[in-house]
Amino acid sequence: MNNIKPAVLTGEHFMNGDYACAEGALACGCRFFAGYPITPATEISEKMSRRMPEVGGIFIQMEDEMASMNAILGASWAGVKSMTATSGPGFSLMMENFGLGIMMEVPCVLVNIQRGGPSTGLPTLVGQQDMMQARWGSHGDYEVIALTPSSPQEMFDFTIKAFNLSEKYRLPVLLMSDEIVGHMTEKVVIPEEKDIKIVNRKKPEKYTDKYLMYKADKDLVPPMANAGEGYKVITTGLTHDEKGYPAMNAEAQEKLIKRLCDKILKNKADIIETQEQETEDAEIIVVAYGSPARSALSAVKLARKEGIKAGLLRLITVWPFPDEKILEVANKVKTIIVPEINRGQIVREVERCSYGKCNVISLPKLGNIHTPYEILKVIKEVSL
């Protein structure tokens, strides 16, 4: 038994983002991982293949990403916290059954270490090109939760946060990381087990004939019965009523889809997290997330040194989108600059939420993160 490590590796580690993500999952109780290798997310699988047996969990490498996604849904229904990890091509393949997770309200975590796309694209280089796909990639209407870490430490922390949100709101939560963060190695501090805040799914009362699978509480989230507990679970990807029975009509659809969306939208205040740096008096605000948020912070510091009133609004939760926060900022500043490693995705949301109140500038880049100077240059231009 020597050299077998505990689930929570309390202490300081020099660790890459992918590994930190795996450790975060284990630390908050994830005991089922199903994945299919893909650069640059493979290291998560690799770490899990070594660690899961150590902590009595299951690691399985599936035949593809559709299988991986479904396996974690099944595992979660068996009452076990579960996760998968992939990158662009695999993310696309998971989208159909990500929708099943939304419809059946299954807590679990889906990690996307974004690389350059479309198609096979640039497997070894960074991208943030799946941000809109995270929101719209599956057919039908739904709302999602997506978090964007900027460092290995946050890969650890936000994985736990993702699990907590998924258990609380009963849906697959997206951790939208990128190749730079996933492959970057930095110090990761893992707290003691008792200091890790863990949220677990609500359980229903004892089973009676009157038990309703999908009767939501006030928070719009129904308590969850796991398989094997005697609740006679009934669930389907079809539109269904509170009993969980298929209900093939427009009224049932309105009711169900509205609740599924509202459980996110009405709890935005609880879900959304943003971070501000030097924003109080800022006239120019950079809105950023993921790895470019690091360049943006550098740029803002450089700009301040030059006396420019620049600030950073970092999105930690990109979805649900902080509409109100953006409008608040738009009302206050002259210009918003949005650097992204894509051709301008989240900037569209910023534009939408700004209602023309300020100037919105997209700073797209592909295949690499912006240097601070690239962002600084634009800050300077608009500060004139």
Partner: protein
């Protein structure tokens, strides 16, 4: 006749959902009751029995079963079931789905789960077509059969499902038809109690779509056909249990072997030392 109209199976089904959606003469109801009977006879704790399906007429079975039941997406029942089983090995997990669901869109999951010998049970209703979407041909449709997408007769060779299952690694492989109610039920019971990946194919009438277009008469005619043309050949090489259009139907149990399952093969960490971890 009694006034007390409670069918003894009503406790195992979601009786408030009756009548089910299946057509008159469809074999699915019969197949379903065979499964329920087997589960009841098996002595398994019903609270630990789980049923999973994909999409299709057959795929509606879980929704009518009064145990933990999962109606997943088209083709994905097996990986979903695998997740359930591996995460909680106490569960007895059965996938009950159609030929299209399991072998068209879902074919890859089938061969891989069989290969891994995950301890789940697959029951496939082979009605030679996609019933739910209105009767298109599928990977089990015999050559020359007419369907809505083979108006000139099917020109694709069908799979021999029992052979494919065996070649993929299943430890228990059997085939019956809907008329073999007792043998089928007993076979399902065996499969439920067997460790490892089991596969049972049920040849079943779809009068509305397949039967009608191929002049096989109604469901009753198909059932009679099975009674007359089935031949039991236990232990035959599944390769020789090919089905041909309107020909003999070889049924029986073809494979019943023992092999370590996916969970049996998991690393025993109590034995691990630093050397194993390189």
């Amino acid at each position: 006749m009694s006034m007390n109209e409670i069918h003894p199976m009503d406790k195992l089904i979601r009786a408030d959902r009756m009548p089910h959606i299946w057509c008159s003469g469809c074999g699915l109801g019969t197949n379903f009751i065979c499964y329920l009977t087997a589960m009841e006879k098996s002595g398994l704790d019903l609270n630990k029995c789980v049923i999973v399906s994909g999409i299709g007429c057959t795929g509606r079975i879980p929704g009518y079963t009064n145990i933990d039941s999962f109606h997943t997406t088209h083709g994905r029942a097996i990986p979903f079931a695998l997740g359930l089983k591996l995460a909680n090995p106490e569960l007895t997990v059965t996938v009950f789905s159609g030929d299209g669901d399991l072998f068209a869109i879902g074919g890859n999951h089938f061969i891989h789960a069989a290969r891994r010998n995950v301890d789940i049970n697959i029951i496939c209703v082979n009605n030679f077509n996609y019933g739910m979407t209105g009767g298109q041909f599928g990977p089990t449709t015999p050559l020359d059969a007419k369907t809505t997408t083979s108006p000139y007769g099917n020109y694709e060779h069908p799979f021999n499902l029992v052979d494919l299952a065996a070649a993929s690694g299943a430890v228990y492989v059997a085939r019956w038809t809907s008329i073999h109610v007792r043998r089928l039920s007993k076979s399902i019971e065996e499969a439920l109690l067997k460790k490892g990946f089991t596969f049972i194919e049920i040849i079943s009438p779809c009068p509305t779509n397949y039967g009608r277009r191929n002049k096989l008469g109604d469901g009753l005619d198909e059932m009679k056909y099975y009674r007359e043309h089935s031949i039991i050949k236990h232990g035959i090489n599944p390769k020789e249990a090919d089905l041909s259009f309107n020909g003999e139907i070889v049924v029986g149990k073809f494979v019943d072997i023992d092999k370590p399952t996916f969970l049996d093969n998991q690393p025993d960490m109590s034995q691990m030392s630093v050397n194993n971890k390189k």
